[in-house]
């Protein structure tokens, strides 16, 4: 990108500057630290100049927005055209209560829905299962059957919103419920827009809501890819997630590396199942974390886009541009929030959200200030949403595409992250791919090592967390936290009793048998799941049938 002679001159000039003014300054005033590092332990130099990016080739490494390798963004005009989707993850208690929260958020200017399910739903148990005790409606909404989905989206026409569902092991079943609900609303399936998370591999590593062993789980993923490609062309069949691995403790480089390694495994599984790459790849989407180290995060998002484009084009031979585009949702970092002086979290979230926007995210969730303590209240969620709206309408950063490109530091860091991610992907390839690396505990150990190092650095004070290990104050524990009424659990149990009495149980048995046969054989499971949910078979009943055919995953404990 730079003229050779000019670089030589600059090198000489920089050398003189270091021996002259810099050395003189250092004699008088030392720097704050011997060495500077990013949050992810990448070395940070005092100054970046063209010398640090001398190897870069504009066309090869950056290109134009909307063009390969998409480093600068996936659309030609980015936020000058349309802003990102403001999508707050929400759901708690029962379907009626969550429905009220969704309508509130839509009234406040939110542009997409994001459904949080409770743990029993995520792990395939009905609300009346013994293991559901104490967990019903706590971290999300309890959904037992299509009847709950009808309440959850009451008054929300499914062709008017895009809906993201954080559901993994039983993703195909919740997708089937959404599709069944669309039919009841008279909305054609090809008009549905949204996402199922459907990323089972990271559940074995970080988030823990697995049900079945890896092999049948991967088959469910491939089945949903095929079904969506055929019937729901505007639906994201997966959201391959680095977020939870980052929250579990890994750094930015590992987040991208492990996410892309999992993505490679999904693509390979779908190819092995006989799908053509360009039929499903355009609907693969991603989900990343945004932490406090603003410029590192921006570089991370740019590097991830570039890496994915290369992988899809060179490794998998994808031809469509859309197959090569890394489209992603971002959530600000829950693990960076403190329970101490919770208002400080508003500032952290602002920085994180800014990083996501400068990194070119397609949609964004901003955390609320008290989330180190509890689910957020309505007031806190509104403030979090307003944070996005201020960035969108007042900060000015949205008015040109990829505004930090060309910063010597950001470009050097983008390159550094890219190189380190490639080294990780090579290592994981050597281990036999992501699924094997997870089986061997490699990914888990890497994450735990980073988490432990981080904790020690915080406790030693080497890493400053404002309000926690520096600038502390005496404070009263916060009150007015949101609480889920324990009565929800009892009500959900009663609703199940009524449902089982009301529905056509012969049809339930028959459709469940259809699910069992499909699971035992090789046909795509999703159409059979659709029949079962349409007959008001419950999530737990369907998962029990699948558990019978697939078995359950036995986690090995690594620490």
């Amino acid at each position: 990108m730079f003229d050779r002679d000019a670089l030589r001159n600059l090198e000489q000039q920089k050398d003189e500057w270091e021996r002259g003014p810099v050395a003189k300054t250092l004699e008088q005033f030392g720097e704050r630290s011997e060495e500077f590092r990013t949050t992810s332990e990448l070395p940070v130099e005092r100054l970046y100049t063209p010398l640090e990016v001398a190897e870069a080739d504009y066309q090869r490494d950056l290109g134009l927005p909307g063009e390969y390798p998409f480093t600068r963004g996936i659309q030609p005009t980015m936020y000058r055209g349309r802003l990102w989707t403001m999508r707050q993850y929400a759901g708690f208690g029962n379907a009626e209560e969550s429905n009220r929260r969704y309508k509130y958020l839509l009234e406040q200017g939110q542009t997409g829905l994001s459904v949080a399910f409770d743990l029993p739903t995520q792990i395939g148990y009905d609300s009346d299962h013994s293991l559901s005790q104490g967990e019903v409606g706590k971290v999300g909404v309890a959904i037992d059957s299509l009847a709950d989905m009808e309440l959850l989206f009451d008054g929300i026409p499914l062709d008017q919103v895009s809906t993201s569902m954080t559901i993994n092991a039983p993703a195909a079943i919740l997708l089937a419920m959404y599709a069944a609900l669309a039919r009841k609303q008279g909305v054609a399936l090809d008009r549905l827009r949204g996402t199922i998370q459907n990323d089972i591999l990271k559940e074995y590593v970080a988030r823990g809501t697995y049900i079945f062993p890896p092999r049948p789980s991967m088959r469910l993923v491939s089945d949903t890819f095929a079904f969506c490609a055929e019937q729901l062309p505007n639906w994201n069949s997966i959201s391959i997630s680095g977020y939870h691995m980052r929250e579990a403790g890994c750094n930015a480089v590992q987040e991208v590396a492990f996410t892309l390694a999992n993505a490679i495994a999904y693509v390979q599984a779908a190819l092995d199942a006989g799908l053509d790459v360009d039929t499903f790849a355009p609907r693969l989407s991603f989900f990343f974390d945004a932490h406090n180290d603003v410029l590192e995060e921006v570089s991370k998002f740019r590097a991830a886009r570039k890496l994915w484009a290369r992988i899809m084009k060179e490794r998998f031979g994808a031809k469509k541009a859309r197959s090569q585009m890394l489209r992603f949702h971002t959530q600000t970092a829950g693990s960076a929030l403190t329970a101490q002086q919770p208002d400080n979290n508003v500032v952290r979230v602002t920085l994180q959200a800014l990083a996501a926007v400068l990194g070119g995210t397609q949609s964004l969730h901003t955390n609320s200030r008290e989330e180190a303590l509890a689910l957020p209240t309505e007031d806190s969620v509104r403030l979090a949403l307003r944070t996005q709206q201020v960035i969108a309408h007042e900060s000015g950063v949205v008015n040109t595409v990829d505004p930090l490109a060309g910063s010597y530091y950001v470009e050097a860091l983008t390159r550094e992250i890219e190189d380190r991610v490639n080294a990780y992907i090579e290592k994981i390839d050597e281990l036999g791919g992501a699924a094997r690396a997870i089986e061997q505990g490699y990914i888990q150990r890497e994450i735990q090592e980073s988490a432990y190092t981080h904790q020690k650095d915080v406790e030693s004070g080497e890493r400053v967390v404002v309000g926690l290990n520096k600038y502390r104050i005496a404070e009263e524990p916060p009150t007015n936290l949101l609480r889920v009424d324990p009565v929800v659990e009892r009500q959900e149990r009663e609703k199940l009793v009524q449902l089982r009495a009301r529905r056509d149980n012969a049809r339930v048995t028959e459709t469940l048998e259809g699910v069992r046969r499909a699971a035992a054989g090789r046909e795509n499971l999703v159409p059979r799941l659709l029949e079962a949910v349409d007959a008001y078979a419950t999530l737990g009943e369907i998962c029990d049938v699948l558990r019978g055919e697939f078995g359950v995953h036995q986690a090995s404990v690594v620490f």
Partner: protein, 132 residues
């Protein structure tokens, strides 16, 4: 004679899958010279109490971030007592609102550590509380 190490069971009751804190703490206790067993995810109170008695631990650390602590923690204490192991020190950790801490303590949880607590605080509390 070598000093007998403190034996600790770190457990995840319920369906919550957040175990970053549990694992970091397990490692910190081990680095402080204790013998640590980690149960892994999705343990019922019955399984936790059984493991604690079989492994003859001095301490059970329960971690829960899903909000189900009021149902799950007291049940573990109760089962330990039923197993004749009521002398085991039970600690809690996670996203636990302050007003719940006194309720848990009334039900026999010795101490509750919330976000921001340092592993050294926990190490010191355990060393102070367990008399070998």
């Amino acid at each position: 004679m070598a000093e007998q190490p403190i034996r600790v069971l770190i457990a995840k009751p319920g369906l919550d899958g957040h175990d970053r804190g549990a694992k970091v703490l397990a490692r910190a206790l081990r680095d402080a010279g204790m013998e640590v067993i980690y149960t892994g995810l999705r343990q019922t109170p019955e399984q936790i109490a059984a493991t604690a008695t079989q492994e003859d631990v001095h301490v059970v650390g329960l971690s829960c971030l899903s909000g189900a602590h009021l149902e799950l923690f007291p049940r573990v204490v109760q089962l330990l007592r039923e197993h004749g192991a009521g002398d085991i020190l039970v600690l809690g950790g996670g996203t636990i609102p302050s007003e719940d801490i006194s309720v848990l303590k009334e039900h026999g949880v010795a101490e509750v550590f919330t976000p921001g607590a340092s592993t050294q605080e926990v190490v010191e509390f355990v060393k102070r509380s367990v008399n070998l």
